[in-house]
């Protein structure tokens, strides 16, 4: 028990280490190792790993750093996450990180890539244009060229020749990583009292800033630990949280939701770590193609993707049913066009099957949760009191 508590405490420290100490230590141990920072939501980290690199998830500063300079770079009506990232860049927290990847999600993150170019941060800055076309010959070919573009940028720095064997190995390590995370979520679906959502958050977020091999060890230890009964079930409803895939909710918000009568058994925090559903072929002559294929056919749904033939509202409802949740909390960052513009579509889909939901907005540095606690508490009570009226199938 003590070991697990220590592990979680370690993950908590790592998750919010804004100096990325562990990653920099890893890099310092060998010449030609490189660090590549990436923003949310999804980036195929396998390719960096195979090129003798390590990815560093840059997911904002939360409530851990006061923003002073960052506010001078953004108007009041733009979300919080880029302010913190610029603040970190200007305060030299990213020194030692060789390149930066800005995956396609919204105009703010896209333009942040241009700001990094102007400020000359890192040895390369790359907007990662995830295709919205899912045909192998069209979107697949383009996606492969995007991956190759990143590999070329890395090669210019460390001269890494990425072999098939290395890529297969990296793919397998991340397969294990996703499997272990999924196992923890699956276990929590049935026994959410064995780990809190806050603890799971630290566990998964830490994985963004440490070597995947180390993260897998931690996840394995935790998976073993929650195999057996611990803790006491409480009279709470099970819910899914949606909308927090980019700017992260403050930990206080996660705690508040769970303290107000809910178990969060599904969420989209750090969605990129769980983006690919299932394993990617790790025993292939063409591992880049395996990564491409996985993106085209095994991606989860997200507000950053418009898959015309596979509507996200249907997939959200399917996920809610799989996880057997009592309701959904749409928790979106203020001024987040992708998340907020999806809400009416999602709400309509929930209404169609009489699945309960509420919507709340936050910023990564929100510090007051009284109103949210009351709102979530009322939501939880209403489901507990009148839950039999709900038909989620």
């Amino acid at each position: 028990m003590k070991r697990i508590k220590n592990l979680i405490e370690k993950c908590k420290e790592l998750a919010f280490d804004l100096n990325f100490k562990r990653a920099k230590e890893w890099k310092a141990k060998e010449n030609n190792r490189i660090l590549v920072g990436h923003m949310p939501v999804y980036f195929p980290r396998e390719i960096v790993h195979a090129a003798n690199g390590m990815t560093v998830g840059i997911y904002g500063v939360g409530d851990r750093k006061q923003i002073i300079k960052g506010d001078a770079y953004y108007q009041s009506y733009i979300c919080r996450i880029p302010r913190g990232i610029i603040e970190l860049a200007l305060d030299k927290h990213f020194d030692g990180i060789d390149g930066f990847i800005f995956p396609a999600i919204c105009d703010v993150i896209r333009n942040l890539s241009g700001m990094f170019q102007i400020l000359e941060k890192g040895k390369f800055v790359s907007y990662f244009d995830l295709p919205q076309n899912f045909q192998p010959e069209i979107g697949g070919t383009f996606y492969k060229s995007e991956i190759e573009h990143v590999l070329e940028a890395i090669k210019k720095i460390n001269k890494a020749e990425v072999t098939t064997e290395a890529l297969n190995n990296s793919i397998e390590l991340y397969n294990i990583n996703r499997r272990l995370i999924k196992n923890i979520y699956d276990k929590r679906e049935k026994f959410p009292w064995r780990l809190t959502a806050e603890e799971v958050y630290y566990l998964v977020r830490a994985g963004l800033v440490i070597p995947v091999e180390e993260h897998n060890e931690i996840l394995e230890a935790v998976s073993d630990f929650i195999r057996e009964e611990i803790g006491e079930p409480m009279d709470k409803i099970k819910i899914l949280v949606s909308g927090s895939f980019c700017e992260q909710p403050p930990v206080g918000l996660i705690k508040t939701i769970e303290n107000a009568g809910c178990y969060i058994v599904e969420d989209d925090f750090m969605l990129g770590s769980r983006w690919i559903q299932g394993d990617i072929d790790a025993d292939t002559d063409d591992p880049l193609n395996a990564l491409v294929e996985a993106y085209l056919t095994q991606s989860t749904f997200s507000s950053s993707v418009y898959d015309i033939d596979n509507p996200k509202e249907a997939r959200l409802i399917e996920l809610a049913k799989q996880r057997n949740v009592d309701g959904i909390i749409f928790a979106s960052p203020s001024f987040c066009d992708p998340a907020l513009l999806d809400i009416p579509i999602y709400e309509k889909a929930c209404d169609d099957i009489n699945l309960r939901y509420i919507s709340i907005q936050y910023a990564e540095n929100t510090g007051q949760f009284k109103n949210i606690k009351e709102q979530v508490g009322a939501f939880s009570d209403s489901i507990k009191l009148w839950g039999e009226e709900v038909t989620a199938d």
Partner: protein
């Protein structure tokens, strides 16, 4: 009457203005009778619009953001936005989207008072604005069985268009967009017809470049922002590639050249500007709900906009791009990737620098729009970079596209007056 404008009993309508009105009138007439005539309707967006392809299939375009800005100018957008917010949309999100959705929820009545027909095709060529993608997801929700064609335009992340980017788009055009257009219109793709249309586009684009180059004259014969948004009207509502557009721009250019030869300044709603006191380059879209009041704040003090980035959202032609009838699909792809908000920030800065330098601007002004992150995110750094590089006075104001709640007249007036004072002082020092 302002001090800087010459009084006129009535502003005479130039022939180009009459032509433009006739063109817009015909478009809306075609739309209102589409069901009777059997013509199919395609909803699409201004940046990266595939006008030539739309004409090649005899489709009629509807531009939701044009509807939104017209609703703003007709003072209807406030109600529409509230309607969308009642429907569940957050106060925080793009007001073009909300205005459009509100308008549809209220019956989709267009500027002529007639209902805009439902779409037969949603053509999502999302260029330079991620929110377009979300917008069409919302439209799909309102029109659940409509055909959708997606054209993903890669971003010019490294300030260039690569072969992979062009090929990606051409493949999408061939295998996704054109088949959907054939299906909806019942017309086979005819490349020769497209080439003929593209020839008109080239003529139009040459004229547009010439027109927006006339501010090299002192005084500038045009205001490249407030009047500029009218000048780009025909190409932004689907007329690029038509003989009507060529005719309109020829007429407009002729009128502007006449003004330049006579040494006249721009025409405003209250007459022509008598004295050009400040020459500005403006970044960002205008406010539509108080467009006239906004413009008046400038012309009252003799401020003329000699170049604006907003007039380049539907295409950047002054860096050399032209549609190419010999490479029809490739050039459509390159056009999409060349729209202003699809340029990366260093490219945008370079373009602004060119405008400031070539048009001898006294100052650079950002109108930062709450609704438009595509424009707004990064503007403060762009402004600072230009200020340091060119040692030019910079100004910053904030408003919104079509949400009247975000147009603070007094605040903007105050900031502009301070900015103009700064320009005045600088002129005195330089002289």
């Amino acid at each position: 009457m302002s001090s800087a404008t010459k009084q006129r009993a009535e502003v005479n309508k130039e022939r180009s203005m009459i032509l433009q009105k006739e063109m817009a009138g015909k478009l809306f007439k075609d739309l209102s009778t589409a069901k009777e005539t059997g013509k199919k309707v395609v909803y699409t967006f201004v940046p990266g619009n595939l006008s030539e392809l739309i004409h090649a299939f005899d489709l009629i375009p509807v531009y939701p953001e044009i509807n939104a800005l017209q609703s703003g100018m007709r003072k209807k957008s406030g109600d529409y936005i509230r309607e969308a917010e009642k429907y569940g949309h957050s106060e925080d999100v793009c007001t073009y989207v909300k205005c459009d959705i509100g308008m549809m929820l209220k019956g989709n009545i267009g500027p002529t008072g007639e209902k805009i027909p439902d779409p037969d095709l949603l053509l999502l060529s999302y260029t330079g604005c991620f929110t377009f993608l979300k917008w069409f997801e919302s439209l799909e929700d309102l029109y659940p069985n409509v055909e959708i064609a997606m054209l993903h335009t890669p971003y010019q992340k490294d300030g260039e268009i690569t072969g992979e980017m062009t090929q990606y788009m051409v493949k999408q055009l061939k295998e996704e967009v054109i088949p959907k257009m054939e299906k909806v219109s019942g017309i086979k793709y005819d490349e020769d017809k497209l080439k003929g249309i593209l020839e008109n586009s080239v003529k139009t684009e040459n004229l547009i470049v010439d027109i927006f180059d006339t501010p090299k004259n002192v005084p500038s014969p045009i205001d490249a922002y407030f009047a500029g948004v009218y000048y780009i009207g025909p190409i932004n509502i689907g007329f690029r590639g038509t003989p009507e557009a060529v005719n309109y721009y020829q007429e407009l250019y002729k009128e502007i050249l006449e003004r330049a030869e006579k040494g006249l300044g721009p025409v405003t709603p209250e007459g022509e500007i008598e004295e050009e006191r400040f020459r500005l380059v403006v970044e960002g879209p205008p406010n539509w709900t108080s467009f006239r009041e906004f413009w008046k704040l400038f012309y009252d003090l003799g401020a003329v906009i000699v170049a604006s980035t907003y007039t380049k959202v539907g295409g950047v032609y002054d860096m050399g791009f032209r549609h190419d009838p010999n490479r029809p699909l490739e050039s459509l792809a390159e056009y999409c990737m060349n729209c202003y908000t699809n340029l990366n920030l260093p490219q945008r800065i370079d373009l602004l620098e060119k405008c400031i330098t070539e048009y001898h601007a006294d100052g650079f002004l950002v109108n930062s729009i709450k609704s438009c992150n595509s424009f707004s995110a990064g503007q403060l750094l762009m402004m600072r970079t230009l200020e340091e590089k060119l040692e030019i006075p910079v100004g910053f104001i904030e408003s919104d596209l079509v949400d009247p709640r975000y147009f603070s007249y007094a605040n903007i007036k105050n900031r502009l007056e301070s900015f103009f004072q700064m320009l005045e002082q600088r002129k005195l020092i330089i002289e």
